[in-house]
């Protein structure tokens, strides 16, 4: 391959662009499999981004940053869990509230941090493998979070389709009443699923502020949390397909950036619309056949459950 060819950087930037979507969407897949629809991903990502950035800035350690982001995401998700699971609040409204709250909270907290650059996360150096011609750059030069996102994919896949606990959780998502009747702790399982989704959304946000940018910019998620939600539908609640969708979207994002760079004569604002327009198109393609959704969507998705009711 010609060393000046843009193919290699396009592929590597696609992987980097897709990684936050993978974290957020895999987390939401688990949440929705438990029958809970959390529309607050965008808010949790923003709070994760600012918390992770602040912690990384203060300690100089990206690891601490990601841990702080996960913790912040969990804290946010607990607000959602408390309102929807313990207080029976409407999941759609509460998720929206979580996003609006997250936008406000992150802007407020991050006010003094905006614009400060930090040392991002370096790519890993694997002896031998990273030195391979072409393949080394293509596969073995990313930061650790990229590889961990694939580990997360395996873990979520295994959990949902192979583990006993995953089976219980899916039962809760399909029919909480039946799951409750045979003695599964519906509310507890849903709490744990929502917290998992919070942690991954927090990490997804921190990936933007610690690795991609790396700095804190107000509202920096720019709809990625919502795209992650669309990806879960696109992947028909199957982890592997969700991740494929994330790479597809990463590709669209990167290609439009390259198109802007090459100066095709198309205004940059119009090219920037592509990822959002693609989301709409993809949703139409998947939802066109109602059977696809009916067969795959957890039956109790978005419905409150109260043991006495």
């Amino acid at each position: 391959m010609n060393p000046a060819s843009p193919i290699l950087p396009i592929i590597t930037s696609t992987v980097v662009a897709a990684t936050p979507l993978i974290y957020a969407a895999l987390g939401e897949t688990v949440v929705e499999k438990a029958g809970v629809l959390n529309l607050g991903i965008e808010g949790m990502m923003l709070v994760g981004a600012v918390a992770g950035f602040a912690a990384a800035l203060a300690t100089g350690s990206a690891t601490v940053g990601f841990a702080a982001a996960a913790a912040a995401g969990v804290a946010m998700s607990l607000i959602f869990a408390f309102l929807t699971l313990s207080m029976q609040a409407n999941q759609v409204a509460t998720g929206l509230a979580l996003t609006l709250f997250g936008i406000g909270l992150s802007a407020f907290v991050g006010h003094s941090l905006a614009g400060t650059p930090i040392q991002g996360l370096q790519g890993v150096e694997i002896p031998l493998l990273s030195q391979l011609p072409l393949l080394g750059k293509l596969l073995f030069h990313y930061d650790i979070m990229v590889y961990l996102s694939l580990v997360l994919l395996l873990a979520v896949y295994w959990f949902l389709s192979k583990s006993h606990t995953g089976l219980k959780m899916r039962a809760v998502g399909e029919s909480p009443t039946v799951a409750h009747a045979i003695g599964h702790p519906v509310i507890l399982i849903r709490y744990l699923a929502v917290m998992f989704g919070g942690a991954t959304a927090g990490v997804a946000g921190a990936y933007l502020s610690i690795v991609q940018t790396p700095m804190w910019v107000e509202g920096m998620t720019a709809g990625k949390g919502w795209i992650a939600l669309a990806l879960v539908v696109f992947g028909t609640w199957k982890p592997l397909r969700v991740v494929c969708g994330a790479y597809l979207f990463g590709g669209v994002t990167v290609l439009q950036l390259y198109a802007q760079g090459f100066g095709l004569g198309v205004p940059s604002e119009l090219l920037s619309m592509l990822p959002y327009a693609a989301t709409v198109v993809v949703l139409v393609i998947i939802c066109r056949d109602p059977k696809t959704i009916l067969l795959n969507q957890p039956v109790s998705l978005g419905r409150s459950f109260h043991p006495d009711a």
Binding site: L96, G104, F108, V233, Y276
Partner: protein, 366 residues
Amino acid sequence: MLKLERRPAPSPVMRIASPLFAAVAMLLTGIVIFTVLGKNPEQAFYVFFIKPLQTMYGVGELLLKATPLLLCALGLALGFRSNVWNIGAEGQLTMGAIAGGGVALWLGDSSAAWGLPLMLVAGALGGMAWAAVPAYLRNRFNTSEILVTLMLVYIAQLLLSYLVHGPWRDPQGFNFPQSKTFSDAHLIPILIEGTRTNWGFILGLLLALASWLFSSKTYAGYRMQVAGLAPAAAAYAGFSNKRNVWIALLISGASAGVAGLCEVAGPIGQLQAQISPGYGFAAIIVAWIGRLHPVGIVLGSLLMSLLYLGGESAQMQMALPSAITGLFQGLLLFYLLAADLFISFRLKNVSVARQSAAVAIIKEAA
């Protein structure tokens, strides 16, 4: 031991009391936040909630900022009542501004009397067209209107940004991303002399009245209420859900479009890259806090407008970031959602003895 128990019927008192609880809880949390930030809570409260309203001009600003919130929220509430989740009012507002503002730019310096009404119609149609996309996609392809309306927000904002950076940029504007200013004939007349409040607010009140009439007096409004409260009953009665989706989205799109026009043909006076500090999203909270009822929404939009003014005032007087407004908005909605639990549930002190007594009665009955 305290236990949650479902009420035999939802409590009408709690429906009204819950927003008040939420507002008070938000204020108390605000005091805690101010104290944690090392500000004098008493002074902060004064700066945030009292100072903005001490002058006639301030009251005018309250009505001015309440206008887009009111217009958007009235439309959204119509949808929320029938389980249609338009959360992209911000995008419809932007498209209304683009369409209506485009007409103003096209008219230029002409001072024909039909200029402003034409802009108003264009604004409404712009927002309506933007909301027609999710309506069509949901009815035809079963696509979630939540995600589509939201994606269209980003697309509308990018379109506006493209227009004011490119074809519609004012050639004499020193390269700022903004259009020419609209001529005076194309600005909405001021309502109260000495303030910036314009007739848009009256338009909002009229729409509130119309919305009340629609919901309580028309058959279409009744069908939509049934669809929201009991979807199965609505389907059994043969009410078309698709028609509800169309009505809800088109009306909310149109009213958001008018809100956008009122901003650009009102306080802004031209098209800019940024025309709204998130009114379309805040309107979701307004609709909720107003109990999806027109009267409640008028009050809710005033409260939300006060939060915007308070945020600005706190920024100027106390060096607090104005983002604190967003924080308060989120808190308000959280508290409301929590308090709403007590509409259909109540707390009951259940002692162990009474519990076992109840069990005995049930066993006897069985």
